[in-house]
């Protein structure tokens, strides 16, 4: 603003009227005084020259009108004080000189004013653009500050890794994760920090994909200075102006607490499923005992027979051998049944393997055959022998089967004889297979066909209402669906689907 004020002062140097005209009178008076003084020192008459200076100064600083006044005063002073005796022509000539000089100065002053005006305008423009530039710098540095804050105060580990696998920049979270100052990591090769083998096997493949231009996401358990941690990481390519990937932006979020919580939930669900299996097995104790007792009885019979053939008066070794082979066969059968009961009762990690659904159905039907017999229920199986194998946890799928069959048996306990349970396996359309368990029991409660799958829904006096809930979670965790319908004229059917893995599809 000071510059502009000065410009204005240069245009109109004297602010007041008195000042401006005072400058005209004063400057002519000064020229007169200097000339008179010089005459005393015998210098020839010099007023004309000083008068021109006075006129020029007045024009320059006080403007046109005071300049003209200075010119007129100079003419009068010269005519009447210095050259009173000269001819009218000579006076007019000098007056003409002053007049031309005044006009010239008027023009000079005008040009000067225009010039100064332009300079002032340009200065204003420059000042403005300078200010907006300053503002932009402030804004940019603010934005940079915020970006820096994002980097520095992010709750996630944020780092930039060059294509040479060296750290370009790391934030405090990453520094804390590795227990060393951030500055000490810059320039360091990743392998130095995480170990050569870990780097080559677990990080480099992802980084190389990122450097090839791909956004990479992955999560896994890692060991760092804070212990065994579950980290979800994203690798994003950072590109130069020429679109070449020059670095990777890595954002790593520590999800250990979430991973532990979901692990705990998974374990709780497995515990619940196990508890439910044990409850069912408890209900089956009598039938299972009978199922094991049959081959044991047969083995004891065989052993007795064997002894009898050997202790006769004329021992028959051939017959004894046959009987002994029967003992082995039946003892093995008893062991198989016990092993199967144990595998269902076992509490273990969920294991998915290729499994033959028909084999799983046959095993569970064999285990429950006696239970069905107890209530005079005829069990029919209608299995499609051309079914591809599925990827499943056999124990869990058999738990679903066991729940459905036990429910059917319960539903038929109080109906008229001709109780029939039928189990079918078929190939469904959408790359899945479907298993159905149908009975002609009491059927599902009206208007509650879907509620039966809710937790704690039960129609049994001693049921806890978890069986179908757990069955549905098991089927859904395998990528299938479990549903129920009522049969006509009576009974209910339960269906569940299981996906057929692409590799076993024909």
């Amino acid at each position: 603003m000071n510059q502009i004020a000065m410009m204005k002062w240069a245009n109109r140097p004297a602010k007041s009227m008195a000042g401006r005209y005072g400058l005209a009178i004063g400057s002519v008076a000064a020229a007169l005084c200097i000339s008179l003084a010089l005459i005393n020192f015998h210098v020839p008459q010099t007023f004309g020259a000083f008068a021109l200076s006075a006129i020029a100064i007045t024009f320059w600083y006080a403007g046109t009108a005071p300049g003209v006044l200075a010119a007129v005063l100079s003419s009068l002073v010269r005519d009447y004080l210095f050259e009173p005796n000269t001819s009218i022509e000579s006076r007019l000539l000098f007056d003409l000189v002053f007049l031309i000089f005044a006009l010239l100065m008027t023009r000079v002053a005008q040009v000067r004013n225009q010039l100064e005006l332009r300079v002032a305008e340009r200065t204003v423009e420059l000042t403005r653009s300078n200010e907006s530039l300053k503002r932009e710098i402030v804004e940019r540095s603010h934005a940079e500050y915020l970006t820096g804050q994002v980097f520095e105060s992010s709750p996630d580990a944020v780092l930039i890794i060059g294509t040479d696998y060296r750290y370009k920049r790391v934030n405090p979270v990453h520094a804390r994760n590795w227990g060393r100052p951030a500055e000490s990591m810059v320039g360091m090769h990743m392998a130095e920090l995480v170990g050569q083998e870990f780097f080559e096997q677990r990080l480099r493949p992802f980084l190389d994909r990122c450097f090839a231009g791909e956004n990479v996401k992955f999560d896994d358990w890692f060991d760092n200075a804070r212990g065994h941690r579950f980290i979800a990481a994203t690798y994003s390519p950072l590109r130069s102006d020429s679109q070449q990937v020059v670095a990777a932006l890595v954002i790593a979020r520590d999800l250990t607490d979430h991973a532990r919580a979901s692990e705990a939930l998974r374990l709780a669900q497995a515990d619940l499923a196990h508890a439910s299996r044990m409850t069912t097995m408890g209900e089956l104790t009598a039938s299972l005992a009978h199922e094991v007792n049959q081959p044991i009885t047969a083995a004891v019979n065989g052993a007795s027979t064997c002894v009898r053939w050997l202790t006769r008066d004329d021992p028959d070794v051939g017959e004894a051998r046959e009987a002994a082979l029967g003992v082995i066969r039946n003892a093995k059968r008893a062991a198989d049944i016990i092993n199967h009961i144990r595998s269902i009762s076992k509490k273990g990690e969920s294991k998915r393997q290729l499994a033959d659904i028909n084999e799983l159905i046959r095993e569970i039907v064999a285990l429950l055959r006696n239970e069905a017999q107890r209530y005079s229920i005829v069990v029919r199986t209608d299995l499609d022998t051309n079914l591809p194998k599925i990827m499943a946890d056999s124990v869990q799928v058999q738990q679903v089967m066991m729940n459905l069959i036990m429910n059917s048996i319960d539903a038929m306990k109080d109906v008229d004889p001709a109780r029939e349970l039928s189990i079918r396996s078929r190939c469904a359309e959408d790359g899945k297979l479907v298993v159905s368990v149908s009975d002609n029991g009491v059927g599902l409660p009206q208007h509650q066909v879907d509620q039966i799958f809710d937790a704690f829904f039960t129609t049994k006096p001693h049921g806890i209402g978890m069986g179908l809930r757990i069955s549905r979670s098991i089927v859904e965790s395998h990528g299938g669906r479990l549903w129920a319908t009522n049969n006509s004229p009576r009974g209910a059917s339960f269906y569940f689907t299981l996906p057929i893995p692409a590799e076993t599809r024909e």
Binding site: A286, N301, G326, S376
Partner: protein, 125 residues
């Protein structure tokens, strides 16, 4: 209908293949010819009840139970000395069977000597 025992045939009724088969072998080693049936209905339908001198039957089977078979034979005035073998017999069931004229009530697995003695007793030897 009544039945007249003409032979000394032992009949076995049990739904479990292996129990049925090994029991038949056991009796053969002891010198008793036998016939085996997988259900009470099969036995009743076979027409062999007349020549059966001793019946060994399981109690719990699909369809007709061993006790029902005994009642049926009693009703038909065809009293065959019967030995019950069962994996889960309780006292009540045992009492019911013996009251209906059972020779013996044996829990599975059973001692061969006891069974053979019971068969001998049933056959009156």
């Amino acid at each position: 209908m009544s039945c007249h025992k003409e032979t000394i045939l032992v009949a076995i009724v049990d739904d479990d293949d292996s129990v049925r088969g090994t029991l038949q072998e056991l009796l053969r080693s002891a010198g008793f010819p036998s016939r085996a049936f997988e259900s009470a209905e099969a036995f009743l339908g076979s027409g062999h009840q007349q020549e059966t001198a001793c019946l060994i039957t399981d109690i719990r089977m699909p369809g007709m139970s061993g006790l029902e078979l005994q009642a049926r034979l009693n009703a038909e005035r065809c009293k065959i000395p019967t030995i019950f073998i069962t994996a889960h017999g309780d006292e009540e069931m045992r009492f019911q069977a013996l009251r209906a004229g059972a020779v013996e009530f044996l829990p599975k697995p059973f001692d061969d000597e006891v069974l053979i003695e019971s068969v001998r007793a049933a056959l009156g030897r």
